[in-house]
């Protein structure tokens, strides 16, 4: 008997089609000022929110100390040397979540997935009316059937593995700013 058969045999009483599906009913928080709560939570996650009327590349770059290799993923991305480090990646987020400051990023295979972690700095561009209250609305909005790889990112990469001291920049971005327009 294969391992698969053995496992399904052990689960033979648990293979019928469910007669119901649990619908998590949670009366969750609703925020009056989603932009303010979102900004507060991005900050708590170690990031920063910048209000920018026109999120042009040149405007965004000014908010980072030094200009090295900049990739604006909103434009056609090509000929980036594979595995090379990028100084700044500009990335469009589809929406943000007020309760935790996370942004939903779906690269849609338009740019390599590693841009999101190899880049030293991340500039996330987000429409300020695209912020939902909680993760319940967030998942109500996502259609994963159209996704290959996508993620919620909340602030820069971090760790507290040494004596519970929070250190920013474990593996991914050292600095993450969200530009609201």
């Amino acid at each position: 008997m294969s391992a698969r058969d053995k496992i399904f045999d052990a689960l033979k009483d648990r293979r019928r089609t469910p007669s119901f599906f649990p619908v998590p009913k949670v009366n969750h928080s609703v925020f009056d000022d989603r932009v303010a709560i979102f900004s507060q939570n991005v900050k708590a996650a170690g990031g920063e929110v910048v209000m920018l009327k026109n999120p042009y590349r040149d405007e965004i770059v000014k908010h980072f100390p030094k200009e090295g290799e900049v990739v604006d993923t909103r434009e056609e991305v090509s000929s980036i040397p594979y595995k090379d480090e990028i100084d700044l990646a500009i990335i469009e987020a589809e929406f943000g979540v007020a309760e935790n400051g996370a942004v939903w990023i779906d690269p849609k295979e338009r740019y390599p997935r590693e841009f999101l972690t190899l880049s030293e700095n991340i500039a996330v561009v987000l429409k300020k009316d695209a912020i939902v209250d909680t993760m319940h609305e967030a998942y109500g909005r996502i259609d994963l059937f159209g996704v290959s790889y996508a993620l919620f990112m909340a602030g820069p990469s971090k760790t507290a593995d040494i004596e519970q001291a929070l250190v920013v920049g474990a593996h991914g971005a050292m600095c993450m700013k969200v530009f609201l327009y």
Binding site: S2, A3, R4, I7, F8, A10, L11, R14, R15, R16, T17, P18, P22, P24, K25, V26, N27, S29, A45, V97, E99, N100, G101, A102, E109, P112, R113, L116, T117, L118, M135, H136, A138, Y139, G140, L144, F145, V147, S148, Y149, L151, F152, M153, A154, P156, S157, K158, T159, A160, D161, I162, E163, Q164, A165, V167, G169, A170, H171, G172, A173
Partner: protein, 455 residues
């Protein structure tokens, strides 16, 4: 693990260094406080816990259905699915996938399952280099140690210890023990490992049946970076990791990080549904005793989402350290899982528990942990190591059922006990007295005093 394993003995070694034990207790209490703060900021927390509990028990009820659906949908998305009955099958599958690929260097993000299966030593024996990329795990890997906590693997080590380990292996300045300096040294070291890697191994936090996708949560981004660079991504999961669909993630993503570290959400909550262009994603689904657990009294432990909240709150864990449990998962949940796996080896664990039930109150999926541990005690007392305790308890029960005999015996004890030499009173069969002082009986019993007063 030897059958002589004893929690009290290994905990004694930990608390011998009083200062360090106190520091450990405080470090974990700090995490527990962060959790409290995060949880209190959500008025609907109790509703979330109830919803999570319901979703998990529903999924367990139909586990076969959801696993089959996951496999079918994942395959349709171009993800390969492999099945393993036990740890050795799991390791063999991973090794075969790597060898077919000619992979010599593997980057691995945190996965308690691969710890449980002993994947690292297995692969290393085959000449494959495995690099744990989670900072805490890398620290314990370099130290040839094991994680002492499922979320904070190196919580038992101080920054000076890390400095010593890093100066030896990463050639950092031994005089420096600043966490930022050490973390960035590890970042630099691990970046190279990522770039050289031929394959990545990750765990799975949630597998989504309907979407045929899986979610991995990290704060460091190591799972994302590892999975993005090399072309082969192997994700290992226990059969209990599946949930019906992405919709339920609304509940779990709100609970996981808040319960674990007090963050509102993990930094990276990443959804893998299709391999990257030109890449390959393989999911290995492991039973290793889980389907058996599903049929017993401890089935609810399969709802665990591995947040570690029960460890951070546990007064025994905080004061005895994760290694004192002798099992891959320590603390309250680990004690139940260990006992369910091998009751004779881990018989001392349920007795380490004080049954204070603090763990029940913080568990995001409402596992009745202290009831499980009480149940484990019933099993553990049958182990030969506890024969004297068992015999004594049976005797006590027999006496307590006979009030006349009980008062006669107590009257004798009140007279005799103060005169028995310590060496006899604290004999080797007196397990209770090993760590405790026997109370000296009062001169008169409560009953005597009561009768005197009402006379």
């Amino acid at each position: 693990m030897k059958t002589s394993f004893d929690h009290a003995k290994s905990a004694a070694r930990f608390i011998a260094d009083k200062e360090r034990a106190h520091w450990h207790d405080q470090a974990l209490w700090f995490v527990r406080q962060k959790r409290d703060k995060a949880v209190k900021s959500i008025p609907e927390m109790e509703e979330l816990r109830r919803a999570a509990e319901e979703i998990k028990s529903h999924t367990m009820e139909y586990l076969g259905y959801y696993l089959e659906l996951f496999e079918e949908r994942a395959n349709a998305n171009g993800i390969e699915v492999y099945w393993a009955s036990d740890a050795s099958e799991h390791n063999a599958i991973v090794a075969k996938l790597l060898e077919e690929y000619g992979a010599k260097r593997v980057v691995k993000s945190k996965s308690m399952l691969t710890e449980e299966c002993g994947l690292n030593p297995y692969l290393e024996n085959l000449g494959i280099e495995v690099t744990d990329t989670d900072l805490g795990e890398r620290i314990v890997q370099l130290a040839k140690d094991h994680p002492s906590h499922i979320v904070l693997p190196a919580i038992h080590l101080k920054k000076e210890d890390v400095s010593k380990i890093f100066s030896k292996y990463l050639h950092t300045d031994p005089a420096k023990s600043d966490p930022e300096y050490l973390t960035h040294a590890a970042r630099h070291h691990l970046r190279r490992k990522f770039k050289e890697a031929d394959a990545a191994v990750t765990g799975v936090n949630f597998a989504l049946a309907k979407e045929g996708a899986f979610v991995v949560c990290t704060n460091e981004g190591n799972a994302d970076l590892g999975a993005a660079l090399p072309d082969l991504h192997i994700a290992c999961m226990g059969i209990e990791k599946v949930i019906p669909s992405a919709k339920e993630l609304g509940v779990f993503t709100r609970l996981l990080a808040r319960s674990a570290t007090g963050q509102a959400i993990t930094t990276y909550t990443s959804h893998f549904r299709k391999p990257k262009p030109g890449g390959r994603v393989c999911v290995v689904i492991v039973d290793n005793g889980r389907s058996g657990l599903l049929e017993g009294e401890n089935s609810k432990t399969l709802s665990c989402i591995r947040c570690g909240a029960c460890m951070n709150t546990c007064p025994v864990y905080r004061r005895s350290g994760g290694h004192s449990y002798g099992y891959v998962i320590p603390g309250p949940i680990g004690s139940v899982l260990a006992g369910a796996k091998d009751v004779s080896t881990y018989a001392s664990l349920p007795f380490a528990c004080t049954l204070c039930a603090s763990c029940d109150n913080v568990c995001p999926v409402k596992i009745d942990l202290h009831e499980r541990l009480r149940h484990e005690r019933k099993e553990a007392i049958k182990v030969s190591k506890y024969t004297s305790k068992r015999v004594f308890l049976h005797m006590a029960a027999w006496v307590l059922q006979r009030p006349g005999l009980y008062s006669a015996l107590m009257a004798t004890m009140r007279f005799v006990l103060p005169h028995i030499p310590r060496s006899i009173l604290y004999n080797r069969f007196n397990i209770w007295g090993r760590e405790r002082e026997m109370p000296m009986p009062a001169k008169k019993s409560f009953k005597d005093l009561y009768n005197e007063r009402t006379r």
